[in-house]
């Protein structure tokens, strides 16, 4: 069985399990956590394209996510649009934002990119939380354009409550987030295993040679920033519709680092790395639920340990063990044939 077919098969099995899960899970808490897992995993698969595959150490992924979420919420709130229609608008807004970030980083390398993108995220955060000017009046209270420190609310939702009733409304968000994750994963695999992915890898591994062979850095860097932003922004929109509040807390450092840890723990640039990492971190987070003060410390310790001991993440380590076993088995096989 070829690697691609194995990947597709594994994906289909996982998908079938994910579709069946809400019917067997007890209670809505777990469904909510899984919905959140799908949203984060979507962002991490797209970040993995930029960081793991194209090798651009951008830390702007949560800013792009927040941009998509805010744009979706604003179109719903100020434009009065249905949130389903606002979703693609938000995703496209995230693409435009990401292109601007990509342009700003175009001539930069390695650490410079990390610094600049982190500063852009912080700049966006500061602009939002210091927003005190009145944009519109909500009764007697004044509402800021970006929602300021309180965040945006009352921009509508996906209407799952009317469609599915109170009992099954959580299913709606669950399947929506799952759908976005499936599309995002399929899209990232399509990019990684196609000629575009090859171009990304060439630019990452030897920029000079790739450029000399006619692979345009400008074109592909813009492409990776734009394409990864679409699903990231979409995830932001789903997040906004799911929580019904969009606030600047998405731009805090802790969610960004939580997602970075997912990528590093899962395995940078690996096909299944983002999903494995997101699952591992969500599980660990669930385990530390009663000790919130150790949560941040745990993420930090995981980052340090993994880059020191297993820089290729869980998936990379598993691959190495698999290869070792394969080798040993063939060696054993070799000796046994010689004995005969």
């Amino acid at each position: 069985m070829s690697a691609t077919r194995r990947n597709v098969l594994a994906g289909l099995v996982l998908l079938a399990i994910a579709i069946a899960l809400p019917f067997v899970l007890p209670g809505r808490y777990l469904i909510g956590q899984l919905t959140l897992f799908f949203i984060w995993a979507t962002v991490v698969t797209q970040w993995n394209l930029v960081f793991g595959v194209a090798g651009i150490f951008s830390l702007a992924q949560m800013a792009i996510f927040a941009f998509g979420g805010y744009a979706t919420a604003m179109v719903g709130l100020y434009g009065g649009w249905n949130l389903w229609l606002a979703l693609p608008v938000g995703a496209l807004a995230a693409v435009v934002f990401s292109l601007v970030v990509g342009l700003a980083c175009l001539r930069l390398k390695g650490p410079y990119v990390a610094l600049l993108t982190l500063a852009i995220a912080q700049g966006m955060y500061l602009l939002i939380i210091t927003d005190t000017a009145c944009f519109s009046m909500e009764g007697v209270t004044c509402r800021n354009f970006t929602g300021g420190t309180r965040g945006l609310a009352k921009y509508g939702d996906f209407g799952f409550r009317e469609w599915l009733g109170y009992k099954y409304m959580a299913f709606g968000d669950y399947y929506l987030a799952l759908g976005v994750l499936v599309l995002a994963t399929a899209f990232s695999m399509f990019l990684m295993f196609g000629p575009i992915g090859a171009a990304f890898q060439a630019l990452r591994d030897s920029p000079e040679y790739a450029t000399a062979r006619g692979v345009s850095r400008f074109k592909f860097q813009m492409l990776v920033f734009a394409s990864s932003a679409f699903f990231t922004g979409l995830a932001g929109g789903v997040f906004a519709g799911y929580y019904k509040v969009m606030g600047a807390n998405t731009l805090y450092l802790s969610p960004l680092l939580f997602l970075l840890a997912m990528m590093v723990v899962g395995g940078l640039g690996r096909t299944w790395g983002p999903l494995v990492g997101a699952a591992a971190l969500m599980l660990a987070d669930e385990g530390l639920k009663d000790f919130p003060e150790y949560r941040f410390m745990g993420i930090g310790a995981a980052l340090v340990l993994f880059v020191m001991l297993w820089p290729r993440g869980i998936v990379g380590a598993a691959e190495a063990i698999g290869a070792q076993l394969q080798k040993r088995r063939s060696e054993l096989g070799g000796t046994s044939t010689r004995q005969h």
Binding site: F57, G110, P111, L116, A119, L126, L303, V307
Partner: protein
């Protein structure tokens, strides 16, 4: 006239505060190509260590500061010995070490929060009072910050220029392999660089906490500004970082006055992007020509 004086005074204070942070980032980057993302947590460590030394242990100010600087230096060495040393020369070092220092910063920050709580505390080393320069009130605290920072920079410049350790650091920054072949004990010098940078950051953290208050996240914003200054100057350029720190301090206070505090960070950001488009290796950075 008074406004100009006010802008210059607050600009110099900001610049002096940023200068030390920026220079310690630059030292580490110059010698090891390590972007120290734990810098913010190191600043916080400095602030809290000084608080403990003066409030809990009841030491006098000079002794408390000395102890704080020592604690910062010790943490720097620990960071090098326990983490960075094991990652040197490995594949993907530049990016992996950034992630590792992010992790170290998180652990340190969370540890400090566990010890001291999340609520802001006043820094007892803050100096009260001030004097009038024309119509402008100048706090003594600002004067002390500018003078201390200037003194520290002079000492550092002397160390780098005159001492054996300084020569070794500069040699390694220029060409590590050549330095090693000439018998420079590279590992030891790396540890010294981390000690120096850690001590300086802790000192910078004390100053910072006298202006703001002590809080577990107090180092993050200044760290980002120090990064911006480093990028403007060109990473690893220690003297350039010093000029850029004061330049950007003055720029920030001008923007704060002209447009309001809200736009200070964002205009620094626009400035740095403009500089980088014009000169991708910073104002004082040398353009590197890569050979194939």
């Amino acid at each position: 006239m008074d406004t100009t004086t006010q802008i210059i005074i607050s600009g110099l204070t900001l610049g002096a505060m940023y200068a030390i942070s920026t220079v310690s980032l630059s030292l580490i980057w110059g010698a090891l190509n390590v972007l120290n993302m734990a810098q913010g947590a190191l600043l916080t460590l400095g602030g809290y260590a000084a608080y403990t030394a003066s409030a809990a242990l009841g030491l006098n100010a000079p002794l408390a500061i000395l102890l704080t600087v020592a604690a910062g230096g010790l943490f720097g060495v620990a960071m090098y010995a326990l983490v960075v040393r094991h990652m040197l020369d490995r594949e993907g070092f530049e990016v992996n070490v950034i992630i590792a220092t992010i992790g170290i910063g998180m652990v340190l920050e969370a540890g400090l929060q566990k010890l001291y709580g999340a609520y802001p505390i006043r820094q007892p080393l803050t100096v009260e009072g001030g004097f009038f320069l024309g119509n402008v009130y100048v706090p003594y605290n600002s004067v002390i910050i500018v003078l201390t920072s200037a003194a520290l920079m002079l000492v550092l410049a002397a160390v780098l220029a005159r001492t054996r350790m300084g020569r070794a650091i500069r040699a390694i920054s220029q060409n590590r392999d050549a330095a090693r072949l000439m018998g420079v004990p590279v590992e030891l010098v790396y540890a010294q660089v981390f000690a120096l940078a850690g001590g300086l950051s802790a000192a910078s953290g004390i100053m910072l906490s006298t202006i703001t208050t002590l809080a577990p996240t107090m180092g993050y914003d200044p760290m980002l500004k120090a990064f911006i200054i480093c990028v403007v100057a060109g990473l690893g350029n220690v003297m350039g970082a010093l000029y850029a720190a004061f330049l950007l301090g003055l720029f920030e206070s001008t923007v704060q006055f002209a447009l309001g505090v809200r736009f200070a960070f964002i205009s620094m950001l626009v400035l740095v992007i403009a500089v980088l488009i014009w000169r991708p290796y910073g104002l004082f950075g040398r353009t590197r020509v890569t050979k194939l």
